[in-house]
Amino acid sequence: MTTRAADESFKGWPPPVLDPAGPFAAPLNTLTWGLLAMAALVMVVVLVALAFALFAPRPWRKRLGGEKLIWIAGLGFPVVVLSVLLVWGLSLTNKLSERPQPGDLRVRVTGEMWWWRVAYLDAAGREVLQDANEIHVPVGRTVAIELESTDVIHSFWVPRLAGKLDMIPGRRNILRIQADKAGTYSGQCAEYCGGAHALMAFVVIAHAPEDYARWRARAERPALAQPSTGAVVFEKSGCGACHTIRGTSANGVAGPDLTHVGSRHTLGAGILPNNAGTMSGWIADSQAIKPGNRMPAYPVLSGQDLRAMSAYLESLK
């Protein structure tokens, strides 16, 4: 998968809500179309009634000009339509609120200001793999995403795969998603979290099962220890105080895990494509790109150091 594919995943057309890619989003799409049809129908009824009321000949207007119109169109018809909709809505809500099943893959996503901390869990709920801003899932398998937050309220929304669910400090919400096609699906924070809320995006990447196994194996390996200038600059600049690169001395947890950052589709939580140029630009002055984010700018780094560090990080695939 290239970063081009990641860019395409963020396209707004066709509208992601109307372009479902899994069983937790497809019924929402059907519902949306059903509701739009209902709304259009009612709008037509109202427009026709109003047009008749204003412009039709006397006998027609007399028939509309009484309480019967209110009884039928204002009460009878809505009661019937809304009853049908309510039953549809309640049963769908019920179906989509099923508790996590034993066969679900377990992932924990913690909302941070303004990025996503991802952890893959084993069946007992222990964290076995840390990542950030990307979630890899196998096609056709339900994933139970545990949503938490340690700071403010965020909301996890990947419209092609499911509705959104909030991440509320002190609570754990669980969202079940499933992708039925391989591909990259864009997501966005959907609860105002101050500052750079507008720039807090993520991707969900669905792999065919064999590809998923391969990705998983590679992800669980620590970074290959390659001595390079970039690694030295990384260590000297104190980056390890906030970031972890498994296999090196960098073990900070305040910021995203960088063990395999080179293979990530985006940088800055879904807002930049991932290449050497954007990597340098982010390190040099992330504040200009995403004002207020928790990573300081590094104007002291020379161009040479930046390029070296950027090459090093890009090599962490």
Binding site: G12, P15, V46, A53, I70, P78, L92, I168, Y192, I271
Partner: protein, 843 residues
């Protein structure tokens, strides 16, 4: 509603009206003199609703334009991706202010202002029952609102969104005083709204023209009545929420802090319990105006009038059951969520009734396409569209996609612009001839309408799509390559088109709006009493009302009213006055003497606003001084009240003698106090909810000290109730006894409060350690505030006694103070009992 009499009044007295013969010389001149308009600087202290109403509407429209300009700046920023018009932090302040100013400084005040301006005229009253109260509410709102808006110029405007969710708005993540501006800034708006609501409830139910029984109550008055009732029940929730968040920010009491047992969801419940009824509070008066204007413009009675009345009542109730539809994505249990979805469906039924009542009325009449006519038709279309997207959002699974996206932004603007802004503009065009010597221009009005209508759709229709395309709310920009450029650009063009329409309206107002002089007359041939010939004293005489559309059905009414042939053709007590009538049948009960203007209420407003604003900027000493001064001004203002007139009874017309002094449950003062206590009781109820909510979330069990002190506190409060009740019973005895009982009641509730607080502190409870400490101390603080006010009231009674103003001929003050003390004692019992009750229940 023509059953037996409600008050024992003999309805054959109505047959004496209209009276015959000429009115005495000088009667009209005396009326004019008593109600004369302000000269020079007196315009500031004017209390006549003809003045205050115009000021109020004007201020609301000023805030509409200011918040609208903020919207234009926002749209300029969003016209292009990664645009540089506004940096991130500024945008976050601007969008927060746009929403906050529109909801709190424009929408609610505008419809309240419409009530202040129109209701007395529509009901046949000379003024509102508490004119200084509505003037006070206006000045507090204007001063506070302007100061709040100016926070933008200092970079101190709140930036947490108009609903300010914690933890984002706690000190950790919002360290400046920006959030405090919001929390304290809307404090005086809350006071203003509640003062207005008291005014409107008492006005609609107690100061109608005789014969205007409930079935003849104008539909707009019904809407305002339900509106005011909803404010009384809903606003306390946001009062509590803002108080709790401010306590958390200022004193570190953890109501919403999950790390110490608090819960951010508590804010959401409290806020939305207010927030959803808030939008119906905004909608109902506008809907009432629609139901008034459409019959007038189509020249035919409202079809299904009784059904529309029921629609208001049903909306008033059911809108309180839908609040959690703003929380569908928070992870609430499915069964809860379903109940709110069902209630949200139910609340759309009354709206449908109104829409088809309007269509049926249009069909049964002959609609005119004048400017008010265009605005009401446009409003109907826009509102229906907004209502339909609302039904969509009420479906939980759809909301899981649409919530917090631009789809909801589209929905809310359609319902607010269609349900409130367009009816308001229609109302401005329709009723301007009543207050201005020139009506507004029909030609310019058409331009205004079409620009606003087209601009509105262009701006907000694309937002449905951009929401489904994945654009969330409250974003200062969006990345390129997401296909969001085109819908956003179209929205921006639409917004500016809409603004052009508003600009033309402003030009029209400057050219034609001339208030405080003569009026342009019944230009649209409306049927309501507000179109009777009137001057500053309102109508020359208060008519007997026999129909829902008096000017259409009682052909000689205008002439007879103007000739003084009905009630109160003059001023029998020599001062300002109006009639008090019974709530259901509108039978005359007594005369209500009303005050002349004086400055105390204005100063009280200045110092009230000052208190909140100084607290915001943490000038604590100055804010205390301001609070003391505000209290002093209120006391001086109240000092004018409760002085019986020399004439105990006067002739209000055709020989009917009415008393000039009233006390007890039929008096307006009693009603005002009871309504205020309902507000207090609702705050208490919401704090009990908060207690139970936090208790249910707690892992550890909450204990409470129960012992001898518990009994002592309970006993003291019960005795206080007894003292308060007795105080007004023993007025026939020497006044000293009454005063002692009043002081005893105040002292007992104070002592009980102190003991209860000390018991908690003795048990080791600390307000900043955990949620239990916080909520118990918050309830204690609320009770403490009431104890303090009760003490001030007791001092007030002592002062009255020292001046010789306590006696059996004037029981009102003692009764009202007694009611207050009794409530404080009851509240003390609740704050005593609830924590101990829940401590006894195993976790």
């Amino acid at each position: 509603m023509s059953e037996g009499s409600e008050t024992g009044f003999d309805r054959s007295i109505y047959d004496r009206f209209p009276t015959k013969g000429r009115r005495p010389k000088g009667e009209l001149e005396q009326l004019r003199e008593i109600w004369c308009g302000p000269k020079g600087w007196q315009w500031i202290t004017a209390i006549n609703n003809n003045f205050v109403g115009v000021y109020y509407v004007g201020a609301a429209m000023l805030f509409f334009v200011l918040a609208g300009v903020l919207a234009l700046v926002m749209r300029a920023q969003l016209a292009l991706p990664l645009n540089g018009v506004l940096p991130q932090e500024t945008y976050n302040q601007v969008f927060t202010m746009h929403g906050t100013v529109m909801m709190f400084l424009f929408a609610v005040p505008a419809v309240e202002a419409l009530g202040v301006l129109l209701l007395p005229q529509m009901l046949g009253a000379r003024d509102l029952p508490f004119p200084r109260l509505s003037a006070y509410a206006f000045w507090a709102y204007l001063i506070g609102g302007l100061a709040f808006f100016c926070s933008l110029f200092f970079g101190l405007a709140p930036d947490g969104g108009w609903f300010m969710y914690p933890p984002l708005t706690s000190t950790t993540y919002s360290p400046g005083i920006n959030a405090d501006f919001w929390l304290l800034g809307i404090g005086f708006i809350e006071i203003s709204a509640i003062a207005g609501a008291i005014e409107i409830i008492v006005g609609v139910l107690k100061t109608r023209a005789p014969g205007m029984s409930l079935d003849k109550l104008p539909i707009f008055a019904w809407a305002m009545l339900v509106f005011a009732g909803m404010i009384i029940i809903a606003f306390p929730s946001v009062i509590l929420a803002t108080t709790l968040l401010e306590l958390e920010r200022a004193l570190n009491w953890p109501f919403f802090d999950a790390t110490r047992g608090g819960d951010p969801m508590l804010w959401q419940h409290l806020f939305w319990f207010f927030g959803h009824p808030e939008v119906y509070i905004i909608f109902l008066p506008a809907a009432g105006a629609m139901s008034t204007m459409i019959p007038a413009v189509a020249r035919t009675p409202l079809v299904g009038h009784w059904m529309v009345v029921l629609a208001f009542l049903a909306t008033g109730f059911i809108s309180f059951g839908v609040w959690a539809h703003h929380m569908f994505t928070t992870g609430l249990p499915g069964a809860s969520v379903g109940v709110f979805s069902a209630a949200s469906m139910a609340v759309s039924l009354p709206a449908g009734v109104q829409v088809f009542a309007w269509i049926a009325t249009v069909a049964s009449g002959k609609m005119r396409f004048n400017t008010p006519g265009l605005f009401v038709l446009g409003s109907l279309l826009i509102f229906v569209m907004g209502g339909l997207t609302g039904v969509m959002a009420a479906m939980v699974p759809f909301d899981w996609q649409a919530h917090d996206t631009y789809f909801i932004v589209a929905h809310l603007h359609y319902v607010l612009i269609g349900g409130m802004v367009f009816p308001l503009f229609a109302a401005i065009y329709y009723w301007t001839p009543m207050v201005s010597s020139r009506p507004l221009s029909e030609r310019l009005g058409r331009w205004t309408f079409w620009l606003m209508f087209a601009g509105m759709h262009l701006a907000f229709l694309p937002m449905h799509l951009s929401g489904l395309m994945g654009m969330p709310r409250r974003v200062w920009t969006y990345a390129p390559g997401r296909d969001l450029e085109l819908p956003n650009l179209i929205s921006t063009v639409g917004a500016f088109l809409f603004a052009a329409g508003v600009l033309i309206w402003i030009i029209d107002m400057v050219r034609n709006f001339r208030p405080f002089g003569s009026d342009a007359g019944n230009v649209y041939d409306g049927p309501g009493l507000e179109w009777l010939p009137a001057e500053l004293y309102s109508v020359r005489s208060i008519p007997v009302v026999k129909s829902l559309y008096p000017l259409w059905d009682q052909k000689t009414l205008a002439r007879d009213v103007e000739a003084g042939r009905y009630f109160l053709p003059g001023a029998p007590t020599g001062g300002r006055e109006t009639l008090v009538t019974s709530p259901v049948q509108a039978e005359p009960q007594h005369l209500l003497p009303m005050p002349k203007p004086s400055g105390w209420h204005v100063w009280a407003a200045v110092f009230t606003a000052g208190f909140f604003l100084l607290l915001t900027v943490q000038a604590y000493a100055a804010s205390i001084v301001s609070a003391v001064l505000a209290t002093y001004c209120v006391i001086r203002w109240c000092w004018f009240l409760d002085h019986p007139l020399p004439q105990k009874e006067v002739d209000v017309g055709a020989g009917l003698m009415l008393k000039t002094y009233a006390s007890g449950p039929s008096s307006t003062g009693w009603w005002a106090m009871v309504i205020t206590l309902v507000v207090a009781g609702m705050v208490l109820a919401m704090s009990v909810f908060s207690y139970v909510f936090l208790w249910s979330r707690s892992q550890a069990s909450w204990s409470a000290p129960i012992g001898a002190e518990t009994l002592a506190v309970a006993a003291m409060n019960l005795v206080a109730v007894l003292c308060a009740w007795l105080a007004s019973r023993v007025l026939a005895k020497p006044p000293r006894l009454t005063v002692m009982l009043t002081v005893a009641a105040g002292a007992l509730v104070a002592g009980a409060w102190w003991i209860d607080l000390k018991t908690w502190q003795g048990a080791g409870l600390s307000p900043d350690l955990n949620a239990q400490g916080a909520i118990v101390h918050a309830m204690a603080a609320w009770q403490g505030f009431f104890v303090a006010v009760g003490a001030i009231m007791a001092v007030y009674v002592v002062l009255r006694w020292l001046f010789g103003y306590v006696g059996p001929d004037r029981p009102a003050t003692i009764q009202l103070v007694g009611l207050f003390h009794a409530y404080v004692a009851a509240q003390g019992l609740v704050t005593l009992g609830v924590p101990r009750l829940f401590a006894a229940v195993p976790a």
